[in-house]
């Protein structure tokens, strides 16, 4: 059992947990993810690790309530336990001194972006963070990003905070302003798709971290497969990070919708008890 030691709501549907998992806290690196199962009836869901504290033996997970299991997880409180947390899974981010690095993201993708921002900054890169959200209340981890980067740009769809506009507007401003050696993007699939198109145009090598549907997370089921460079890859063992220019995002978006009807039904059952 894995105990929750702290909980913070980032927004109505997004919660941030610190969970006791000493072995994972010790072995994880930026870019790794875990599989979490709430209880006997819960689904196995992949969650990227947002942070870890080796002294306390905890890892930080940011959970967005989308399906039945994640909704039930977000209802947990300090002292409650998760039945299973397994990892770290996937390959760690390739951290090097690239020069100037844009780290951009939106939604809960901002959480796993944080350790990459930290590691890139510690490796001596000039790190520019671009965060995007629909509106001001949905911008998360801004202070942490400020503390670990050279600059933070905020973009909101409604202009309620930072600049008005989508993520690509902010990223393009930076690329036009200065030379960028590397871009890392984590967010909704559609966001990553458009960042990939933009950075391809400017020939900025870009990494995306994919959060596909998974069951076991160890390479056994193949639910997470995506086409990268014309070849089928498994996000859980070949990823989760891939060269953005090579990813078939349209196929990925279609596959992400595979269980939409079932998810809706499960949510209705949850709400109606």
């Amino acid at each position: 059992m894995f105990k929750i030691v702290s909980k913070k709501m980032f927004s109505e549907k997004v919660a941030c947990f610190e969970v006791e998992a000493p072995l994972i806290a010790q072995s994880r690196k930026a870019g790794h993810f875990v599989i979490v199962r709430l209880d006997e009836k819960g689904e196995r869901i992949p969650l990227t690790i947002a942070d870890a504290d080796t002294e306390k033996g905890t890892i930080t997970l940011v959970v967005q309530a989308v399906g039945a299991s994640s909704t039930r997880i977000n209802a947990l409180n300090v002292g409650d336990e998760l039945a299973d947390v397994v990892g770290p899974l996937g390959h760690a981010t390739d951290i090097q001194k690239y020069g100037t690095v844009i780290c951009c993201g939106g939604g809960v993708g901002v959480a796993p972006l944080l350790p990459i921002v930290k590691a890139m900054h510690e490796a001596g890169n000039r790190v520019i963070v671009v965060l995007a959200a629909r509106t001001k209340d949905l911008i998360i981890l801004e202070d942490e990003m400020h503390a670990n980067s050279d600059e933070v740009l905020i973009m909101t769809d409604d202009g309620s905070y930072g600049q008005k506009g989508v993520i690509t507007v902010g990223v393009e401003q930076v690329i036009q302003r200065e030379h960028v050696d590397k871009c890392v993007c984590i967010g909704p699939t559609i966001m990553m798709k458009f960042v990939a198109l933009l950075t391809k145009k400017y020939e900025v090598p870009t990494i995306v971290s994919l959060n596909t549907i998974m069951v076991d997370g160890t390479g056994m089921c193949g639910a997470c497969r995506v086409t990268v460079g014309g070849k089928t890859k498994f996000v859980c063992v070949d990823g989760p990070e891939f060269d953005a220019a090579e990813v078939n995002f349209d196929e990925m978006m279609s596959r992400m919708r595979a269980y939409r009807a079932e998810e809706t039904e499960a949510m209705n059952n949850l709400i109606n008890g």
């Binding site: 770290p88 056994m220 079932e262 499960a266």
Partner: protein
């Protein structure tokens, strides 16, 4: 077990008397027992009720009488774990069921599992003397299952005797059949054994892969509990090579590591449309339903896609399991597409028979070449290439060749690909110094099961690339024997 030991047991007075109590001719006149089964109509409505109901006491004793108790029992040579088959069968005949199960447990740690899932027709029963005599072989598998079930249902499951603790610690990676067999033998030798499992449940393929209508979870759980009673420690949610490293395992005080991490990446065919919604591996399909409880109407969060017209690709046990599961999930039609003919199907004969009884449509000599999507990106049709049998290939089977220009398109809103798996890549990439084959398997000594890293042994699918439960168990046993020797030096 040496030939002398086998002979000594055979020469015990009770056994000689039993042999003489009935003539071989009379034994030969008894018909092979028929296993009681649920009707096909009923069983496709239930996930958890076992198709085969097990022999009654009377049936088992009568079947045991069919065994001639040969001086040189060929059946034993057909058993990958070397069970003393005549001894356990003759104990059933004299109705000493305790002694029967004790005999089996000397060499097999999972008798209730093996009695259900071993391909007996290719092993013990395939080489039974009666086959040479043009009779039906003794139903060894049924009898093994009877002995194991008798013990479990009596509520008096006994853990086999273990040697006093020798103060050494070993661990197994993965908790499938090879690791369980390894753990049982090492515990018997006196080691402190820990089994690390990546998933949340113990049992590996016995839990996530084989459906309950063929192997109930309660049966698997009971056998695992016997291991727990022998002192084996099971730790779920740990991925060796990720959660803990090779070095950390040594820091934890383990002297030897057995890798039974099993099958990994499911194979696909790399044909157009294979990544459409509704096309998935058998591993995914079966794991969702068996391990995660999807689609079983009991409030589990994990979903699974249901299909009206399900196509299953492949001809092995996993293909049969997938097809029969799809039927139970309410599919209107389930079509099994296999590129060779019925005679080449690699699945257990009984599973093929059961699948046919349950109304699975066997579309043999066909091979999928493309899947076609509907407007939502979900598969709606499978295009099949018609095949014919050509010359025998390296495996000795006649190889399938396409019939030029002949294809067929069938409706398919769910496609389950069950054409095999590649070995799990985690240990091969995490442990330095291992020799890895081109297929991704760990290379070990054939008899020793020892890898290029001297304290790492391996067996099962991670070594064979794809094997049966019993072959994996045989590997686990051999690895235990040779690791014991290695650590005793």
């Amino acid at each position: 077990m040496t030939l002398e030991e086998i002979k000594a047991l055979r020469n015990e007075p009770w056994r000689e008397e039993l042999r003489k109590s009935m003539s071989p001719k009379d034994r030969g006149a008894i018909e092979r027992v028929k296993m009681p089964e649920l009707t096909p109509e009923y069983r496709v409505t239930t996930f958890t009720e076992e198709v085969q109901q097990g022999l009654s006491r009377e049936q088992a004793v009568l079947e045991a009488k069919r065994c001639l108790d040969c001086a040189d029992p060929s059946c034993m040579k057909g058993c990958p774990v070397g069970i003393n088959i005549p001894t356990f069968i003759k104990n059933i005949e004299r109705e000493n069921f305790d002694e029967a199960i004790k005999t089996i447990k000397k060499t097999s740690s999972l008798p209730a599992v093996c009695g259900r899932v071993c391909p007996q027709e290719k092993q013990c029963e395939g080489v039974c003397i009666k086959v040479k005599m043009k009779q039906k072989p003794v139903a060894i598998g049924y009898l093994e299952r009877f002995a194991a079930d008798y013990e479990r249902e009596s509520g008096q499951m006994k853990a086999p005797e273990c040697a006093p603790k020798n103060g050494k610690k070993v661990c197994a990676v993965g908790s499938g059949p090879s690791s369980l067999a390894f753990a049982a033998d090492m515990a018997k030798f006196g080691y402190e054994v820990t089994v690390f499992e990546a998933l949340h449940d113990i049992g590996g393929v016995l839990k996530y892969g084989i459906p309950e209508f063929r192997l109930p979870n309660s049966v698997v759980e009971a056998e695992i509990n016997t291991l727990r009673n022998m002192g084996v420690n099971f730790v779920p949610d740990v991925i060796v090579g990720k959660t803990i490293s090779y070095d950390q395992i040594h820091e934890m005080g383990f002297d030897g590591i057995f890798v039974g991490s099993g099958a990994g990446l499911p194979r696909f065919m790399n044909i157009p449309g294979e990544n459409l919604i509704g096309v998935m591996s058998s591993n995914e399909y079966l794991t969702r339903i068996n391990l995660m409880g999807a689609g079983r109407g009991q409030g589990y969060d994990t979903p699974v896609l249901k299909g009206k017209n399900v196509v299953v690709c492949g001809g092995g046990n996993t293909a049969m399991d997938s097809a029969r599961t799809a039927k139970r999930m309410g599919a209107e039609t389930v079509t099994l597409v296999y590129r060779r003919s019925v005679n080449e199907l690699p699945a257990r004969a009984e599973e093929v028979h059961h699948a046919m009884e349950e109304g699975i449509d066997f579309h043999v000599l066909h091979n999928p070449i493309e899947y076609i999507a509907d407007e939502n990106g979900r598969v709606k049709e499978a295009v099949l290439q018609v095949m014919e049998l050509g010359e025998p290939d390296a495996s000795g089977r006649r190889s399938p060749v396409p019939v030029e220009g002949k294809t067929e398109t069938i409706p398919a809103d769910l496609v389950i690909v069950a054409i095999g798996v590649s070995p799990n890549p985690i240990i091969p990439s995490a442990f330095k110094g291992l020799e890895i084959s081109r297929r991704g398997t760990i290379v070990v000594g054939e008899e020793t099961m020892q890898s290029a890293v001297s304290d790492v042994f391996a067996g099962g699918d991670i070594v064979r690339g794809g094997a049966t439960v019993i072959l994996a168990m045989g590997d686990g046993r051999r690895a235990a024997g040779s690791m014991h020797e290695y650590l005793s030096k």
